[in-house]
Amino acid sequence: MEILLFGISKEIIGEQILQVPQEARITSVKSLKQWILASYPEMGNLSSFAIAVDQEYATDERLLAENQEIALLPPVSGG
């Protein structure tokens, strides 16, 4: 599973795209968030972060599957 990274999350994780291994057994947005926080504890210092699936904000209950475009969104700061 590939996760697109933006803003400060690229600096914390040190990649442009995060590769999540199969053995992480990610099935939902919630389990992805938990895996990210366990793998990169510094992400816990952010006030929050969101996951987008196919370019829409996704709730924690949203199930993840192959062929989705998944992105990690740190707190936005446009405008």
């Binding site: 600096e11 987008a52 936005v76 446009g78 405008g79």
Partner: protein
């Protein structure tokens, strides 16, 4: 009619001319620009990064919500991406309506929701170091 886009540079005369409409008695234009100070430090420059396709989708959604709530003749949302200097315009919100109150209210809604939801990130470069805005509590 609406215009939503991400650009490298905002052209204000072009924005104003696009917003004009014969039935509009009021055009409200909000321009957000780069401040020279933040967090008590001097800002040298800024960089905006966006998740472009999702940013456009979010802006389209917000615009559709506003057009349902207010009788808008023309609506414009333009945000820059890339490097910007102090004083540069970075976001423009424009609404043209028959009466001014709708234009004020709709523009306020559009900029507030853009700041809440649109996946764009501002990185501030200070004289001493750099920081991603809003990342920390």
């Amino acid at each position: 009619m609406k215009q939503i886009k991400l650009v490298s540079q905002i052209n204000l005369p072009e924005v104003y001319s696009w917003l004009q409409h014969p039935e509009a008695g009021g055009i409200d234009l909000f321009i957000g620009s780069v401040r020279n100070h933040a967090h008590g430090k001097t800002v040298v420059q800024l960089k905006f990064e966006g998740y472009e396709p999702m940013a456009i989708r979010q802006m389209e959604e917000i615009a559709a919500e506003a057009m349902e709530r207010w009788p808008i003749k023309k609506l414009l949302m333009v945000h820059v991406l890339g490097n910007k200097k102090v004083g540069d315009p970075v976001v423009v919100i424009g609404t043209a309506t028959a009466h001014r109150n709708d234009a004020f209210e709709a523009s306020r809604y559009l900029i507030d929701e853009l700041k809440n939801r649109v996946p764009i990130w501002k990185k501030e470069y200070f004289t001493d170091n750099t920081v991603w805005v809003n990342a920390h509590p």
